[in-house]
Amino acid sequence: MSAELKVSGLGKAFTAGRAVVDDVSFTVAAGEIVVLLGPSGCGKTTTLRCVAGLEHPTEGEISLGGEVISAPAKGILLPPRLRNVGMVFQSYAVWPHLTVRQNVAYPLKTRGLSRADMDAKIRQALALVDLESYADRSVTQLSGGQTQRVALARAMVYEPRLLLLDEPLSNLDAQLRLRLRDELRRIIKAVGLTALYVTHEQTEAVVLGDRIGVMRDGKLLQLATAEDLYNRPADLFVAGFTGASNVVPGTVRAHHGAFGEIETASGARLSAWLNEGTPVGERVMVAVRPENIDLVPAADAPNRVTARILERRYQGTHTIYHLDLYGARIEALEMGTAPRHAEGGDVTIALPPTLCWAYPAAEIAP
C-alpha cells in the first residue's frame, strides 16, 4: 500500500516574494525512508506540511502513487483527510481527552471499518509499538517515549500510503532518543512504509534514512545516501553542515582528471577533488574533515606536509590539534587516549585528495 512520493518544483511563500520553500524536487521510492536534514528555519517542516496538505504550496506539484495531490497551477489541492497519509507531529498531538486505544481508533472510525476489523488493526498497531498493555490508559499518564509511540501507532494504524514524521524524537531525552531511533527505523521498515522524516540531527538522519536530503534557506542542496553525503558533499554548505569544519582558501592552477591542483595562501600546492568545469585561475575553498587528516602518513602519500601545532586540546577519548597549515588554521583529530604530539612542535601529515573537496568561492552565499 506504500506509494511513491514525487515532489517537483515545490515552492511556498507565506508572504509574497519571500519563499520559505524554493523549487524543491525529490522522489521517495515506495518503501524508502528519506530524511530531510537542515538547520533550524530552513523550511523542512514547511515542506513536510505541504506534502501533508496542512500547508498550501504556492508552486510545484506533489504526487503520491501517481495521483497528483497538490498542484496550485492546476488548482488541484486534495485536503489532508483525503490524502491517506500518516503523520507524527513534533509535539505528538495525541488527544489528551482520549485513551490510548481511542487515540489509535480515531482514524479508523472516520473510515467506517467494522468493529472486528478495527479491533484487529488496533491490536496489531499497539503490538507493533509495544503498547498493548497500555491500551486503556489515559494518554496523560504516559511517559514521553510511550506518548511518541502512541502517535506512531495512530499514524500507522490505517496503513497510510506515506508516513510523515516531524522531528519525532526531539522532545525526548538523549538516552531514549538513541534507543527509539533504531526502534523507529525497525518499525517503519517492518511495515514497509514510505516515509519522509524531518530532523536537524545528523546522526539521527544517518541512522534512520535510506537517503538524506540537506536543506538550506528553502532549497534542497543534495539528496544522497549517507555515505555519499559524507564523502561527496555537493557544496561547501553541505560539507560544513555534515562536519567538514576545515576550510582552506586557494586558487585553481591545474586539472588532473577529477582532481585539481590548488595553490594555497602559503604558496604550497594541494591536490583536491574538483569539479572539472571549474576554470584554472578560479578562487576556491577546500573543505576537509578533521578526522580525515592523516597524522601518520605513508612516505609517498600525496598532500604530505609538515605543520606547526598551534594548540592541543585534549578531549579524553581523542585529541584535537590546531595546525598552522596552508596559511589557515586547521583542526586535525587523533583518536585514542594518549596524544602523540606536543603543543608548539611540528607534525607531518597528509590530506587524502579524495577527501579534500574544492568548491568555487563565488558559490558561497554571503
Binding site: 501533508a52 496538505g53 496542512l54 498550501h56 485536503p79 489532508p80 483527510r81 483525503l82 490524502r83 491517506n84 497519509v85 500518516g86 503523520m87 507531529f89 513534533q90 509535539s91 498531538a93 495525541v94 488527544w95 489528551p96 481527552h97 480515531y106 482514524p107 472516520t110 473510515r111 496523560t140 495512530r154 499514524a155 490505517y158
Partner: protein
Amino acid sequence: MAEAAAGVLYRRVRNWSWTALLLAVLSFLVIYPTLMLLLGALTGSNPVVDGYHWTDASLDNFLTVLANPNVHAALGNSLIVCTGGTIIAVGIGLLFAWIVVRTDTPGRRFVAAASMLPLFVPPLVAGVAWSILGSPKTGLVNAILAKIGLDWRINLYSMSGIIFVFGVYYAPYVYMFTASALRNMDPALEEAAEISGAGPVRTLFTVTFPLILPAILSGMLLSFIVMLGIYGVPAVLGAPSNISVLTTYIFQLTSWSPPRYSTAAAVALILMLVTGALVWLQQRLLTGRSFTTVAGKAFRPRALRLGPWRWLTLALAVVYLFVVVVLPTLALMVAAFRKFLFIRDIPSLFDEKQYSWIHFQRLFANQVTINSIINTMEVAVVTAILGGLLAFAIGYTVTRTRLPGRRAVDIISTIPVAIPGLVIGVAYLWAWIGLPGGFYGSIWILAFAFIARFLPDTVKALSSSLMQIHRELEEAAWICGRGTLSTIGSIVLPLARPGVVAAMTLLFVLAIRELGSSLFLYSSGTIVMAVQLLGYYEGGNISVTAAFSLVQMIILAVLIGITNRLTRGAAAGGIGRSG
C-alpha cells in the same frame, strides 16, 4: 534567656494581633452581615420594629417561604431566563471565539473587540435601551416596522426578551474563557484529526470542543451565575408584564408596605445557595484537569480557510456589534435628544428640528441628579481607597507571610464570590437597619457593602501582582536590616504600586456601576446614579432616563478607558466577574 522568651512572646502577640485585626475587619464586612441574613431568613420579624432576636429563629419561616408559590414562580422564571440566556451566550461566545482564533476572517481584531464590548455596557442601561427599542407598543423597532408596512412585531417585555438581552450581553463570558482556551491549544491536535481523515465539522466536535470543554462549561456557569444576580435587565423588561425573577422579587418584598424583610432574606438566602453551588462547581472545573494549558508555549496560529464564507463570519460580528452596542446607543440618543419620542414617519426621524438638549436640561435641573452623581463619586472613592488598602493587606498577609490565621483570612475574603450583589444588599440591610447610630442610610454602608462585594476579585488581582515580586527582593531588604513594615513601605509597596493603583481604579469603576446592593442601602440623601436611573425609568420619563443613561455611559467609558490604560487591558476580566 528570659529576654529571649519575652521576645518570642512579644512577636507571637504581635503576629496574632495583626491577623486578629484583619479577621475583625472581615467579620464586620462579611461574616456579621451573612449571619444577619441567615437570622433574617429564619425569623418572621421586622428588625426595624422588633430588633434582633435569635431566640425566635426557626426553620419554619424559611420553609414557609420555600413553600410559597410566588417564590416558586420567581425561582422558575430565574432558572428559565438564565438557562435560555446561557444557551444563547454559549452559542455566540463559542462562535466568536472560533472565528477569532481559528479562522482567516478579515478584521479579526475588530471581531475580538466586538466580542468583548458588551461587558462594558451596564445591564440597567442595556435594559433601558432595549425597552426603548422593543417595547410592544412604542418600541422604536416596532414603530419602524409599522411604518415600512411589515406585520412583524417584537416584544422585549417578555421572558424571551429578557433571555435575548441576557444572551447577547453575557456572551463575552463564554467568549473570554473559550477564546483563551483555544489560543492555548496546540493546533497540531486538530491537524492530527484532519490527517486521520476527519472533516472540519467532525474535528470541531470530536477534538476541538471536547478539549476545551472545561473552558466552555466554566464560561457557561459564570454567565449563568452573573445572570442570576442581575437586577437591572429583568427589572426594566420584566416589570411591565409582571414577570418576576428572584432578584426583582426580593426587591419587591422590601418595597411593600410594611416591608417583608424576613421573606426577602429567605429568598436572598435561596439565591445565595444556588449561586454558591454553581460557584463551587465552576471553581472545581477550573482547578480540575485542563487539557489545554501548556504554560509558556506559543503556538503558531492556525487559520482555517473559509473562502467566501469569511465574509459571512465578518458580517455576523458586525451584526452582533450593531445589536449590542450601535442600535441601543442610537435608541438612547434618539430618545434623549428628540423632543417627543413619538415618530410620525421615517423622515421625521432625521428632522433636526425634532432634536434638542431639553431633556438633558431637565435632567440636570433636578438637584437629585447632581446629588446622585456626587454621592456615587464619594462612595466610589471611599470604596476604591479603603477596598484597595484592605485587599493589599489581605493579599500581602496571605501570599507573603506565614502568620497564624492567614488561611482563615484567605477563606473569609473569598466568600463574597458566591454572594450576588443584591444578596449583599439584603444582608447589609438586615445587619444595620435595626441598629441606631445612622450607619444605615449613610454613604459608608454603601461603600462597605461594595468593598465586601468586590473583595475576592480585588484580593486576587493584588495577590497575583504581589506574587510577581520576587521574594528575594524583600529578603534583601531584611538582610539590610529593615523590619517587616519598613520593607513593605520601601520595597513591596513601590513595586506593587501599579497593581494597587490598577485594583483601585477597577474598584472605582465597579462601584459606579453597582446597582444590586445599592438598591437596599441608599437613603434619600445618599442615592446613587444607578438607583436614580432606575427611579427615572420607573417614573415613566423615558427621555430623561435615556439622557441619564447616556451620561452614565460616557462617564463609564472614560473611566474604563483610564482603567484599561492602568491595567494594560485587564479591565474586561475585572468587570467580568461582577456583572
